[in-house]
């Protein structure tokens, strides 16, 4: 209980710093580009358009019973958040060494800031997703109100991975490259473009369900595409996987954070 109170106090104290760092990320990212912040919206839209054209028109992928475009975009939105936020978090400690070495700032702020910054982008990409949901006639239902639950789990999971990676990367720079490979592999192990039933292999099907990202994406698809309420099992799987990974990340990060200054 005491540690939770400490976290809240610390967040209150450093809330302004977090806000400033997030807004710095925004300002710096789009500085000197003609379209500016519009890229936050445009970039994912165009990327998704490319993927949509390739997978639904060139490869003619299809998932029976649902609109494939919505199916694909739901998966992409979630996965892109994870991949970008975890990548940025990983290098956040190393990149902010100039600060860490000079003033006292709780170090968890850096991965957290990155996850929140990409989180805002994630919320923006929901706009094109919903445009497609309406345009394809998929429509919305009351269960859409449950979607923030999956956002929260996704955020917790990504934060956990971000803490873990950012701590490891300080001691082992190779991680920056290794993770690039892992992430590519992870993309294909997550049913983004395909459906688990396409695998025609019960063993793989079961195995891939242990991928937490599958759980969050599946939660969203259950609501958006299949239009029913996720089962209690789904709720539990999302929360438990996210909480466990977050806990692991926090423990590893906390244990090592005092050593960061010597290794950067």
């Amino acid at each position: 209980m005491k540690s939770i109170r400490n976290i809240i106090l610390s967040l209150k104290k450093y809330g302004f710093l977090i806000k400033q760092l997030v807004s710095r990320d925004f300002k710096v990212k789009y500085k000197r580009s003609v379209l500016g912040v519009a890229w936050s919206l445009l970039y994912p839209v165009l990327m998704m358009a490319v993927m949509a054209i390739i997978f639904s028109n060139v490869f003619k992928f299809n998932v029976p019973g649902v609109n494939y475009l919505v199916y694909l975009l739901t998966g992409l939105t979630y996965f892109n958040y994870f991949s970008e936020a975890s990548n940025l978090s990983m290098s956040s400690i190393i990149a902010n060494f100039g600060l860490i070495n000079k003033v006292y700032i709780p170090k968890y702020i850096f991965p957290l800031t990155k996850c929140l910054f990409v989180g805002i982008n994630f919320l923006l990409t929901l706009i094109p997703l919903y445009v497609v949901i309406f345009a394809t006639g998929t429509g919305v239902n009351i269960y859409h109100l449950l979607l923030p639950y999956s956002f929260l789990c996704l955020l917790m999971f990504t934060l956990g991975i971000g803490f873990l990676l950012s701590a490891v990367a300080v001691f082992l720079r190779d991680m920056l490259y290794i993770y690039g490979i892992v992430l590519t592999l992870w993309t294909y192990l997550t049913p983004i473009m395909y459906d688990l039933s396409m695998l025609q292999n019960k063993f793989f099907e079961t195995l891939l369900k242990f991928n937490p990202l599958y759980q969050y994406i599946n939660f969203a698809r259950t609501i958006i595409l299949y239009k029913h309420c996720p089962t209690v099992g789904q709720f539990a799987a999302c929360f438990v996987s996210a909480a466990l990974v977050l806990l692991l990340g926090v423990v590893v990060f906390k244990k090592n954070q005092d050593k960061f200054v010597y290794y950067i």
């Binding site: 300002k27 070495n101 003033v103």
Partner: protein, 253 residues
Amino acid sequence: MDEIMIRAKDLSMMFNLGIDKGFSLKQGFVDLFDPKKKKQDKSKNDFWALQDVSFEVKRGEVIGFVGCNGAGKSTLLKIVAGVYKPTKGTIETFGNVCPMIELGAGFDMDLSASENVYLNGAVMGYSEEFIKSKYQEIVDFSELHDFMDVPVKNFSSGMSARLAFSVATIVDPEILIVDEILSVGDAAFQSKSEEKMLSMINGGTTVLYVSHSVESILKLCTGVIWLDHGHIVKAGEPEEVCREYLASLGQSL
């Protein structure tokens, strides 16, 4: 006035100088065939920047630190500021600490001066309302009115140092940590910044001050600690300690 603001007990700080090399496959492979060498190397790389340093600072005291390069002065300040965690010993501070160890930490070169005031202020731990209310004062002090919308990367080093000094000194901290930054900007700004420091010190702030200029230490400090190779050589009256320190360098006051 006898309230203790900083209590350092048996502070020791070890750096491993070999750490920069880190672990590499090649080195690991080489060491595999020469296990003795690895062990030797490890302890040889240990470097004690501070060893068993203890001191107490009371409210309103201005403590100067003198010593040659590498004596451990900056390390000590960073420990008090909370940047480093001491390898051994404990440090307690009572009151909010304003570290002016390196000015402009957290300046983002791509952002404008005014954006950096907010960012740097947040880094220093100020609240949003506080910076808003003090913004004009910061700009006035830095005398950079015409440049607040210019990205800091286009600033001269003197200009960014002025801005940084103005942001850093806007608070009235209870404990102020200063690492040789009075030499900021041109002559006019230097005397202005020195004045500002003096007024902060006279306002009852507790100060830890590192400088190579014995002259300014004598002017500002109520006590001096002389460090050498991580040990306290002498602590006490400014004049006495400084005289001995200078004598060890073959100079006189």
